[in-house]
Amino acid sequence: MKTAGIRIQVDGRSVEVPAGISVAAAMAQLGLPFRRSVGGQRRAPVCGMGACFECRVQIDGIAQRRGCMTTVREGMQVCTDD
């Protein structure tokens, strides 16, 4: 496993994750939930390649970013349920 950790914030909570992984993977490693659907169901990433948008989160103030397409970066701010 990668050893170099970096810090990101998810829903205001500061967490350490391995460098190089995707935002989606970081959230899964931390056991954090992804979005809720319009009907209120829990959802999580499905396609892993940017097509399904189930992993969408707000990243650094920009909504609807795909967690599976974005690599974590020091100081990144992630908000779920955007």
């Binding site: 970081a26 490693q29 319009v38 959802r43 499905v46 892993g48 097509a51």
Partner: protein, 428 residues
């Protein structure tokens, strides 16, 4: 100002990489554009723990660092017209003008609705591979791989390599068909070797043919599945279900450019001639876009298009290799044809559109995607119908509607930068 290139290539999988290397070798200035952080596409996706596959590792660094190739990672094409692309990355939008465009933007996974498919823990088969390679934790997780096609074997190997306990592989095609496919593999020795190697790595993991997952069960997360095999229905406790039914060409960009499609099958593909030229002058298409064929046809077609695009000679032996690779694609389509049981998986209350939570029963009676969209919001969400549209086409409910710009959700400021205005936009 607008950046100008002799050749712009969309997609950095094997097809786009081969095209970039070929065009650059002939002296062309090339832009190689991909939405992912690393080149390789899906089949050669870089694994954050294990790196690129050996063959990819041998060629990718040299291609993306080539002095005449401008590698544009994490860059999305959001709009296109004759001679220019509108691109967006994390920080800006800009315009790239080209003399020749090579489309190599591949395919996505065909995901089909069944009860429980929206539960966290259920992913695509290729989806699980992609997630594992970007750091998704699989260690000690009990995984079931299901759906159809040789991709299931590759997904199982990736899951195992990342520490998952693979409980079994459930293939919808019947055993006779799968065996006929395997017996015909001698014609493609590379594929035969790959199949043997995959099976070897999966020793001890049961492979069930003629099997369909009926339901995924759990509250808020997957806990078990109900799978129907030739021996009857059985429940199976698991943490992950990776289920995919093959691949669908990503034709949206080609469609926007006006490329003629071959719509003989359920999912359209771009029509090309032997030089990979589409019906639109100056626009080429290679690989999965022209019909699902895998890595080998993508690579050779990229080589052909990369040369043809800059007026260089295309060798006859490349064309022979291309035809041979395409014959493999036909064999694949034929032997892993989806059974009617797969099309009957969704129940009336099963959600089909995951973005807008639209159930199958709400879509009956609509003649086309547009009518369904206006009445139910089906296909109106962030994925722009990429998942439900392809699924509905496969189920025979109605064909997928045409695409409209932007190709992906974009920032408002990007839309304020009209592609038709060459004086706007900045360059990285």
């Amino acid at each position: 100002m607008t950046e100008r290139y002799d050749v712009a290539i969309v997609g950095a999988g094997p097809g786009g990489l081969a095209a970039a290397r070929a065009a650059a070798s002939q002296g062309a200035r090339v832009a190689l554009i991909d939405a992912q952080a690393h080149a390789g596409g899906q089949v050669w996706r870089k694994d954050i723990e294990h790196g690129w596959p050996r063959r990819a590792q041998a060629c990718i660094p040299r291609i993306v660092e080539h002095p005449r190739i401008h590698w544009l990672a994490q860059t999305q094409v959001v709009h296109a017209d004759a001679g220019a692309l509108l691109l967006e990355n994390e920080t800006q939008a800009w315009r790239v003008a080209y003399d020749t465009l090579i489309l190599a933007n591949g395919a996505r996974e065909l995901l089909l609705p069944f009860p429980g498919w929206t539960l966290p823990g259920v992913t695509g088969a290729g989806g699980l591979q992609a997630l594992a390679k970007q750091g998704w934790p699989l260690h000690g997780r009990r995984a079931v791989i299901a759906g159809s096609g040789p991709l299931l074997l590759a997904a199982a190997v990736t899951a195992k390599r990342h520490g998952a306990q693979v409980l079994g592989i459930y293939e919808q095609a019947d055993a006779a068909s799968v065996h006929r496919f395997a017996r015909g593999l001698w014609r493609w020795p590379g594929k035969a070797l790959q199949a043997v190697s995959l099976r070897g790595q999966l020793a001890g993991i049961p492979y069930h043919c003629g099997s369909v997952v009926r339901e995924a069960l759990g509250t808020d997360t997957l806990q078990a599945i109900e799978v129907e095999t030739p021996r009857g229905s059985e429940p199976l406790s698991c943490d992950l279900l990776a289920i995919g039914f093959g691949l669908v060409p990503n034709i949206e960009l080609a469609q926007m450019l006006g490329c003629r499609l071959n719509e003989a099958g359920v999912h359209g593909r771009v029509e090309v001639d032997t030089m990979q030229r589409s019906s639109v002058p100056g626009v080429y298409a290679v690989g999965e876009l022209c019909g699902i064929g895998g890595r080998d046809s993508a690579w050779i077609e990229g080589l052909i298009a990369g040369h043809a695009a800059v007026g260089a000679k295309v060798q006859a032996r490349w064309l022979r290799r291309q035809r041979h690779a395409r014959e493999f694609a036909e064999s694949l389509q034929h032997h892993f044809k989806l059974s009617t049981r797969v099309r009957a998986m969704a129940r009336p209350d099963t959600l089909v559109c995951r973005c807008e939570d639209v159930p199958l029963q709400a879509l009956r009676g609509h003649a086309d995607a547009r009518s369904a969209k206006l009445a139910t919001r089906c296909g109106m969400g962030a994925c722009q119908g990429r998942i439900c549209g392809s699924a509905l086409a496969e189920l025979g409910i109605f064909p997928r509607g045409g695409s409209r710009p932007p190709l992906f959700p974009v920032r408002l400021s990007t839309l304020g930068d009209p592609i038709s205005n060459p004086h706007q936009g900045s360059c990285s």
